[in-house]
Amino acid sequence: MPPVTITLIWIAAIVVLLGVYLSWTAGRLDRLHARIDAARAALDAQLLRRASVAQELATSGILDPAASIVLYQTAHAARQAEDEQREVAESELSQTLRAVFAEPDTVQTVREAPGGPAAVGELTAAVRRTPMARRFHNDAVRAARALRRQRAVRWFRLAGHAPFPLAFEMDDEPPMALTADGVGR
């Protein structure tokens, strides 16, 4: 075989290998973006659920009027917030929930009202699941960002037009009386 043919075969082999690698990496990236989307949807669902229960409790008349107004206002703001203000509004809702449910007695009062146990149960589930959902989301974001920083991904624009993923940062500390550690205190 003339040397030119051998060189051509080598080039072809390298191109094929590179193609397989790029295709595999694109697959990984695609899977990561799908994971971020799913995690973001789960996080949205938890945040919305939390704000809805808070709003319900605020309008139920079980809590004292001052607490009701503050809770209603922040819950409403969290639900209506635009994307840029979302993290701040949700953090404020966390702070308000902590303030309103600082005392285990408040939780007990709500529990004794008609329909109370269900409301407390839903709120507990929501405030516990929000931090979980956020961690899962941010974990997916971190993995995707690490991959997108690789040279091959940048040079060959494997991410396409997908926006660079951003972590969701907020204060999601649940009220002590509603955490698993607070049970039985």
Partner: protein
């Protein structure tokens, strides 16, 4: 929900991870879920109905000790068949970073994957070399769980990313309702763990024992666990050896009865613990706990509120605390009651609900788990015929 759980270690060898998986599977089955556990096991080992064998684990030297691992094409094929037959809504992989079934199933599956990290190996050279292989597999995991804040921290340092902390579960009532055994009562100190495993800390306790006996000569030490009993008491003066009672390997029932009977449970471990399930079991049984001040133990004991802590490997401090506690029945009663209240947090009803809520979060709107059919080269080039 159809749940598949992957156990990385041999089902026939007792161990913390295996017990955790067994209890989790039985708890979930009790709630009406369909559970299948894939675990390495000899083909002739009797297995519970929900366990599927992934073949025999092969002992290989790994990370400085001999580990029993599953790998190779045969195991990979069994994993794929299990995934295919199970059609699970979610799979829960334990120890996905260990080069065994966990990693194989992570590699072979797609869809909602939850993973629990029990321990984190200190970053080994093998792991750094394997990082490019590990990362594509680990990034498929939708939700990571660490069993303690300590385990989470090591996970974050070694592999990056984040995890939620869900502790190991204990059937609190099983321990709380056990019947105390009269011959194990009356000024007794309990210790459970392998005798010949120095990290369990029996040598520290043996060094402290003479000082305890000097003040309270009636104290007896009950030791439950495998190992050389002669060697364990070698450092002890002849006259004191009678105060140490070896129970050998005990059944779950006897373990609960022993913990119900003792006046004080001592956990002198020197390290290598990522959780400390035995402390939770002791507290469930209402035994006051005196433990070495390890990160994991401190967390389980609520920073020292639910049990007392002493500096690691400090036999004098251990002896002083033990003597003080045994002479203070008010403090013991207080520890019993705070311990029993605190431990509810680790009951399977709480822990199981948290794990289920993780399952629900990752399965919401997602397709079920399926074998990851890697697209062949022909398909990628658009040549495959459907």
């Amino acid at each position: 929900m159809r749940i598949g759980i992957v156990c990385p270690y041999s089902w026939d060898v007792p161990g913390g991870v295996q017990f955790h998986i067994r209890d989790l599977a039985e708890h979930l089955i009790g709630l009406g879920h369909e559970v299948s556990v894939l675990a390495p096991a000899d083909d002739d080992t009797p297995l519970p109905g929900y366990v599927v064998s992934a073949g025999r684990a092969v002992p290989v030297p790994y990370n400085g000790s001999v580990a029993r691992l599953n790998f190779g094409f045969l195991s990979a094929a069994r994993v794929r068949r299990w995934l295919h037959d199970g059609a699970f809504d979610v799979i829960h992989i334990h120890e996905p970073a260990s080069p065994s079934l966990g990693l194989l199933s992570c590699w072979a599956a797609q869809g909602p994957i939850v993973a629990t990290f029990h321990t984190s190996n200190p970053r080994s050279r093998a792991m750094i070399a394997a990082y490019p292989i590990l990362q594509p597999a680990l990034e498929k995991i939708s939700a990571r769980i660490a069993v303690s804040e300590y385990a989470r921290r090591t996970l974050v340092e070694h592999l990056g990313g984040d995890a939620v902390v869900i502790p190991n579960g204990v059937d609190v009532d099983f321990f709380a309702k056990a019947e105390p055994k009269p011959q194990w009562q009356g000024e007794t100190i309990g210790f459970i763990g392998r005798i010949d495993e120095p990290r369990k800390g029996l040598p520290t306790l043996m060094r402290a024992l003479p000082k305890i006996l000097a003040v309270r000569p009636g104290v007896r030490l009950l030791v439950a666990g495998r190992g050389d009993e002669q060697e364990a008491v070698e450092g002890l003066p002849e006259s004191m050896r009678g105060q140490v009672e070896f129970l050998g390997m005990v059944s779950d029932e006897d373990k609960a009865r022993m913990l119900r009977s003792v006046d004080l449970y001592v956990a002198p471990n020197t390290g290598g613990e990522s959780f400390g399930i035995i402390l939770v079991e002791a507290m469930s049984a209402g035994a006051p706990v005196l433990a070495s001040d390890l990160d994991a133990f401190r967390q389980v004991l609520d920073g020292g509120a639910a049990g007392e802590l002493f500096p690691v490997e400090d036999a004098d401090a251990l002896a002083a605390s033990a003597v003080r506690l045994l002479g203070d029945s008010d403090r013991l009663a207080e520890l019993r009651s705070t311990g029993s209240r605190h431990v509810r947090r680790f009951d399977w009803s709480t822990v199981g609900a948290e794990i289920l809520s993780v399952y629900e979060m990752v399965t919401d709107g997602a397709a079920s788990v399926a074998p990851d059919e890697r697209t062949g080269l022909r398909a990628r080039l658009g040549l495959a015929r459907d």
